[in-house]
């Protein structure tokens, strides 16, 4: 019985999910997503003026969304195809009677699921650590934690799909991905003006702006930035995922991999 695209993707995904649990790269990505929680705990312990709400929005915005989400996604996204090429194991997958696109989808989905679980843990721990802060305010509300979780999950899905496609298209995907993350996502998204909307980060922040409460107004420039409407931001992110998947699958169906012996 020949496997179709979705049957093969499902089979690869189920195998890949169990392998991810043994992967140092996957745990490193999880570590990156838990890092803001650790920082929050250290800051809360060291500074008695910082408030739970202030700490969670500040670290959620800058550390989780701005740094951890792009870098953790880069780490796992690039590995979706490029790791198999580096390890020279892609031969076994390419020479089986399955659509090549199934390799991309079958390895992308487990990576995203892993990162979603890590995001959920990272956000929950960040909020819990921020709640230990001794400054007085109303505490961390649902209007802080849920938008943060939503944006983090949307972020890892979008970035991971983008970097997975990058891994199919270019030879040194990690270097190109790092350059993209720092120059476009890290730099451009923090410049004032309309160019921000060229970045994924801007649309993730728009998700927070569209669903969050007043606690987010504390972030510098939050109130003065022209955020995308919620639906538009979600649509742009979904389109990025779709285009990345189609472009990656298209290229994978045609690409040759020159593997050294």
């Amino acid at each position: 019985m020949k496997l179709g695209l979705w049957g093969a993707s499902l089979l690869i995904a189920s195998t890949q999910l169990s392998l991810l649990a043994r992967s140092r790269r996957a745990w490193a990505a999880t570590g990156l997503l838990l890092l803001p929680a650790l920082i929050a705990w250290l800051v809360a312990a060291a500074n008695d003026k910082v408030t739970p709400s202030g700490l969670s929005t500040m670290l959620g915005w800058h550390a989780l969304l701005g740094v951890s989400v792009p870098l953790a996604s880069l780490l796992l996204g690039v590995a979706v195809i490029a790791e198999e090429v580096e390890d020279r194991t892609i031969t076994y997958l390419l020479l089986r009677p399955v659509p090549r696109a199934s390799l991309l989808f079958g390895r992308l989905v487990p990576a995203v699921l892993w990162l979603w679980a890590s995001c959920a843990a990272g956000t929950a721990l960040l909020v819990a650590a921020a709640a230990t802060a001794r400054g007085s305010d109303a505490g961390v509300s649902d209007g802080t934690r849920l938008p943060l979780l939503l944006a983090a999950c949307a972020g890892v899905a979008t970035y991971t799909a983008l970097h997975a496609a990058l891994g199919v298209w270019v030879k040194h995907a990690m270097i190109v991905g790092l350059a993209y993350s720092f120059t476009i996502e890290g730099f451009l998204s923090n410049l004032p003006g309309r160019n921000q909307s060229l970045t994924i980060q801007h649309h993730l922040r728009s998700l927070v702006a569209g669903t969050g409460d007043d606690a987010w107004q504390r972030i510098d420039g939050f109130g003065s930035t022209e955020w995308n409407p919620l639906f538009d931001a979600a649509l742009v992110l979904a389109l990025v995922v779709l285009v990345a998947c189609i472009a990656g699958a298209w290229r994978l169906a045609r690409r040759q991999f020159e593997l050294p012996a």
Binding site: M1, K2, L3, A8, L11, I12, T15, L19, R22, S23, D87, R88, T89, T91, Y92, L93, L94, L95, R96, P97, V98, P99, R100, A253, R254, Q256, F257, E258, L259, P260, A261
Partner: protein, 315 residues
């Protein structure tokens, strides 16, 4: 090309070329490989691995065409369902166990879960790894890893098994068992195409060879037939005799003999363009000279000699 011609050959390459930038992998390679067991030979850099990767569909030709089992192999699931490929690179998913690895690839080949498990165990049994089936591949020795790669190539019972240097890393016992496995596969009706630079291993398995050199086809056919084509080279024979000096004197004047070399310990190496005269005359000459022949053997029937000749040297 008729259907009968097509089905008689598992591989048909026409003007096949593959370049890596300025580096030639294979060039202008036109060769038809028949069903059965065929050895692909050549020194390092001859283009063997490139040819096998083109054949397996891992690479696309830069120029020309290649058909495997009647169709182009690149990204072609119909070909991959009928092809088993054992790559040269020592790469495996080290976190998987041996049986997980083979079973997973079998399932990608379309086997149901239970059938895949039993076929995986059968393949591991054939490469004598069934006792290590639940061990992680990361802990396997080089030889065991090689055998797992062979197991995944044969587990789905392909029509054509392509193996790139399959005997590398195997100890003598495992080599013997693996060669025996290839014989069994051939007996079961599979075509086996394998590359190696260990020449005597080819001879132990098949007389049918394809010789590559610097990315080009040097020769293709039976070892003996290739040798017969090389009649511009004299045939060389080793003769060990009790009185080799006297025998050498007698042989120098024989028709067709080009040279007689006297080596250590009574060994003569005779080069002749008329081997039939030498073979016919030698018993009489040896008897008359009372030379006492202890052994007589051709130095040119082996693949190594053929290869050396074709490369422009002499054995």
């Amino acid at each position: 090309m008729t259907q009968a011609e097509s089905s008689a050959h598992v591989v048909r390459a026409k003007d096949l070329a593959r370049f890596y930038g300025d580096v030639v992998g294979v060039c202008d390679l036109s060769v038809d490989i028949p069903r059965g067991t065929v050895g692909l030979l050549g020194p390092n850099g001859a283009g063997k691995s490139t040819f096998l990767k083109l054949l397996a569909g891992e690479l696309q030709p830069s120029r020309g065409s290649i058909e495997v089992l009647g169709a182009p192999p690149f990204a072609n699931p119909a070909v991959h369902a009928r092809l088993g490929f054992c790559p040269q690179q020592d790469a495996l998913w080290d976190d998987m166990t041996a049986v997980e690895f083979v079973e997973f690839l079998l399932r990608l080949s379309g086997r149901e879960s239970l059938a895949a498990r039993s076929a995986a165990l059968a393949a591991l049994e054939r490469v004598q790894l069934v006792d290590a089936k639940d061990r992680r591949l990361g802990g396997f020795s080089k030889g065991m890893r090689q055998r797992v790669r062979i197991a995944q190539a044969i587990a789905h019972e392909p029509e054509l098994v392509v193996l790139d240097e399959p005997l590398t890393g195997l100890d003598p016992l495992a080599r013997h068992a693996t060669l025996e496995l290839f014989r069994q596969l051939a007996a079961e009706g599979a075509s086996v195409l394998f590359s190696t630079h260990v020449l005597h291993e080819v001879e132990a398995l098949t007389q049918d060879v394809v010789l590559l050199h610097k990315g080009r086809l040097l020769a293709r056919g039976k070892i003996a037939a290739i040798r017969a084509l090389l009649d511009r080279h004299p045939r060389r024979y080793s003769i060990r005799a009790r009185d080799s000096r006297r025998l050498a004197r007698e042989l120098v004047g024989l028709e067709g003999v080009e040279s007689v070399q006297l080596k250590a310990e009574g060994l003569l190496v005779v080069a002749t363009r008329r081997p039939e005269i030498l073979l016919e005359s030698l018993p009489g000459i040896a008897s008359a000279a009372r030379a006492g022949i202890a052994s007589f053997e051709s130095r040119d029937e082996g693949l190594e000699a053929v290869f050396d000749y074709l490369m422009g040297g002499a054995p």
